[in-house]
Symmetry: C3
Amino acid sequence: APAPAATPSPAGGKAFKMKGRIQADAGIVSAPSSLEDQGLGFSSEMRRIRLGAEGELSPQFSYKLEVELSDNAVDLVDTFLTFEQGRWQVRVGNQNAFWSLDELTGDTSGSVMERAAFTDAFAFERRLGLGVQYTRGPLIAQLGVFTDDITALANSSDGTSGGDENNSYSVDGRLVLNPRLGAVQLHLGGSAHWRRLGRLADASIRYRQRPFLHTTNTRLIGTPALKVEHETMYGLELAAIAGRWHGAGEYYALTADRVGASPLTFRGAYAELGYFLTRGDSRGYKGGIFTNNAPARPLGEGGPGSIQVNLRYDWLDLNDRDVRGGTQDAYIAGLIWTPIRNLRFHLDYALLRYTGATALPSGDDSYDANVIGTRFELDF
Amino acid sequence: APAPAATPSPAGGKAFKMKGRIQADAGIVSAPSSLEDQGLGFSSEMRRIRLGAEGELSPQFSYKLEVELSDNAVDLVDTFLTFEQGRWQVRVGNQNAFWSLDELTGDTSGSVMERAAFTDAFAFERRLGLGVQYTRGPLIAQLGVFTDDITALANSSDGTSGGDENNSYSVDGRLVLNPRLGAVQLHLGGSAHWRRLGRLADASIRYRQRPFLHTTNTRLIGTPALKVEHETMYGLELAAIAGRWHGAGEYYALTADRVGASPLTFRGAYAELGYFLTRGDSRGYKGGIFTNNAPARPLGEGGPGSIQVNLRYDWLDLNDRDVRGGTQDAYIAGLIWTPIRNLRFHLDYALLRYTGATALPSGDDSYDANVIGTRFELDF
Amino acid sequence: APAPAATPSPAGGKAFKMKGRIQADAGIVSAPSSLEDQGLGFSSEMRRIRLGAEGELSPQFSYKLEVELSDNAVDLVDTFLTFEQGRWQVRVGNQNAFWSLDELTGDTSGSVMERAAFTDAFAFERRLGLGVQYTRGPLIAQLGVFTDDITALANSSDGTSGGDENNSYSVDGRLVLNPRLGAVQLHLGGSAHWRRLGRLADASIRYRQRPFLHTTNTRLIGTPALKVEHETMYGLELAAIAGRWHGAGEYYALTADRVGASPLTFRGAYAELGYFLTRGDSRGYKGGIFTNNAPARPLGEGGPGSIQVNLRYDWLDLNDRDVRGGTQDAYIAGLIWTPIRNLRFHLDYALLRYTGATALPSGDDSYDANVIGTRFELDF
């Protein structure tokens, strides 16, 4: 989490802080050249730009409002009202629907540049809704009801994509147990999600994923457009932090009830191991998600900052029954340099192994892609 | 008005304040099911998101800059330079053109979730221009010249919607008398507006309105597209605040001079009565508009916050001569809970009675709709 | 530069400042009426609206993030991370690619409302990239590598305009010598630019320019769409400030290597002379660009603010070989009133003389246009 740069206001000591984020990427996706896809190769972009504020209205009520510029569109990210009383927290507005550990962990606190393949493939996103959280010792219980993302809801067109015709809703819950055993921070979690797509069942959905980097818009695997009535998801989370080491793993399964066809189940998972090369540094953890700790010896204060190496295996399987969306096995090695608090540089390499991907002219649909990605990111 | 959370700057005590607003809505519009309009029924949205700043450049010059995200578009709201000297105020930039009391009153200070039906039907909006205000005791006189809203002006397309082809302008004035008679705050006002549409007369206008809630994009009443050369509007305002009670009423008439056809006059009005159930609370008033007072006994300081009940009758008549746009009579009951300053929750019910509305399959165009709306809104 | 309104944060005295800008224009472009172009004549617009922040993360690392609303689109302007160590500065992110003095000088510090005609015609803009600067005494050396503007990079469409298909890059350098000779501030500069358009060579480019004002979208001169592989540019800069006087001049030449056709060279230049009518005022200069000095005797403190008169001759030649894009000679007289720091009012007159412009019905393509422009602009 960013350093607390709150400015004391004269109106009774209420905290207020302006917030922002810059992420810029450049990278290369090298796939078989016979694909003749000009969206592969070198590309660069501003990954995310955010501007917003958070503050307190009273000891019980606080808010956050953050606007994001990405993909040439302006969108809302965390924008909600929070009420806190003892062990209870109620949040209403645009927020994450208690997804996986990897999705809930901030995008400037991740171990590699992009999240697990299943998080995009299964369309984890912020939605308008009401979420309740209960915390007691090492237990966090979360439950909420959500409609859809606010961009979809604000769509003024007629027909299936019209925001006012959107009557989808979901019930989402997550349970976390995070005891501290001596010097080890443990994390055990599970989440369950049920969504009724309602009017959206008249439109269609594609489950698909980019080849790791966001700078490209190519998807080498993905299902055809499917008409889906309900989605049911289950996820399991496991993580541990011990000094300079950390490990994490998750498994997610999505079952899509099709209109007039048998249901499909798609699955994803990842497992990772990370280590800080710099003494005194460790991965942060708070409130059921990973966070960033400030470097023990920052650049400019006699140290190099922190340097972390992460290895991740990431798997996505979009095949089930008659639908052959393909599979992706990613072997990712990531290096993160954090010279000072709130500033990070990424250098990632990924080997992607595909089956059932976009076919080459030869008809072959099982091949590899090699990816190199770089990013700088800062929060204020 | 929000609490003054200005941060003192080192550069000579000039006030500066970051501003923001969150409004999130959910509601139901229940109309005859034979309409088969999927835009009715349940819907939800982020109604308004604002981010901006206001401050002083010198004792005479101040500014405000506020960006709004609504309807999936980014727009400017109040964005202007203000010069003040004695009783005179000159404002240049994007601003409200001295519309009705209901329009000028901030959208987080209203008595019900949405403004009077005529305010949207007659397209009250902020426009780029120059406004002058003179204040002396209980008198406020306002006069200005305006072009168009800045989104229209920035449109880079060719043809009638091109911003550079837009040569419309208007002259708008308003007069307010607001004496305080003992414990009673009185408000008497009137406004007059004349607009030459110029190049816009080659395009066309529809006068129409939603069934109270903004979450739906359906309009059950509205005129066909009309080619209009000039618009002339008159409005009358009357309001009073006495302790926990307040009352308000307005009448507005718009005359549209058509190209090659006789002029049309459309009319709207509302009357409302409001009462605070909580002792010590009253509606705020300042500078010719309603504002919010902080609750006398806020939540968290031994009280429940303030609770206000409002009843409003709202009428819109879009019938004249050969044009039968329809009529809407709305009976609205609203409950506002303000637990603490700058935070409000709405629960509204509206019965809408239509004539000349979108016809049912039976041919019937006079029917009722029932509306339930909820909102939370906060300012910082 | 705006007054330092930084608010000290509790987190170790790191500077943080919210930033914003408002520019609103109104003006008239009077060209031969037989053109029948409704985009000429009177027009008005919000020229630029900016909102952002800048601050320091550490003594070495600082950032700036600024979002701009103009032309109905949201775009990034300066958004980068800066590292400074001794005489070296490294900047990564969205930034100006070491263009001409007129382009690099802030748009609220210019001598007339719009920059030299060649700056738009040759598409000077901010791009994503890495720039290095070395400063030693009166020498500034700048060199960088850039891809494209972030809006182009984020375009998610397929084909030549797709952001992920965009593999253009450029190398840009600039050298400035700015000795102070007694009371005279001298500025000598030169820049060189080479760009490989890559995939963009499959699309096409038009070099063109508006008739001075931005409120109109009409371009009276411009080349047809050209397929260009590389662009090479050279620029020369000369300027001096002496008390209330200043002078400046630049020359820029762009050579476009066409696909399958001989290269084209287009040229532009301007020369200007400015004088403050108010005693004690002078044009600011810092870091190789013009800046704004605060008025010596501001309005409200016994003075009128500062009043500056500027005369500029501005030339653009888009003719070469088989391409006859036309020529524009502009004679511009500008008046700037700066009542207080950070606030300016413009009144500009321009006589534009064209050859090879959009032809009149008579076939004549050499004619004049008269332009009057007004603006208010403020920074915070």
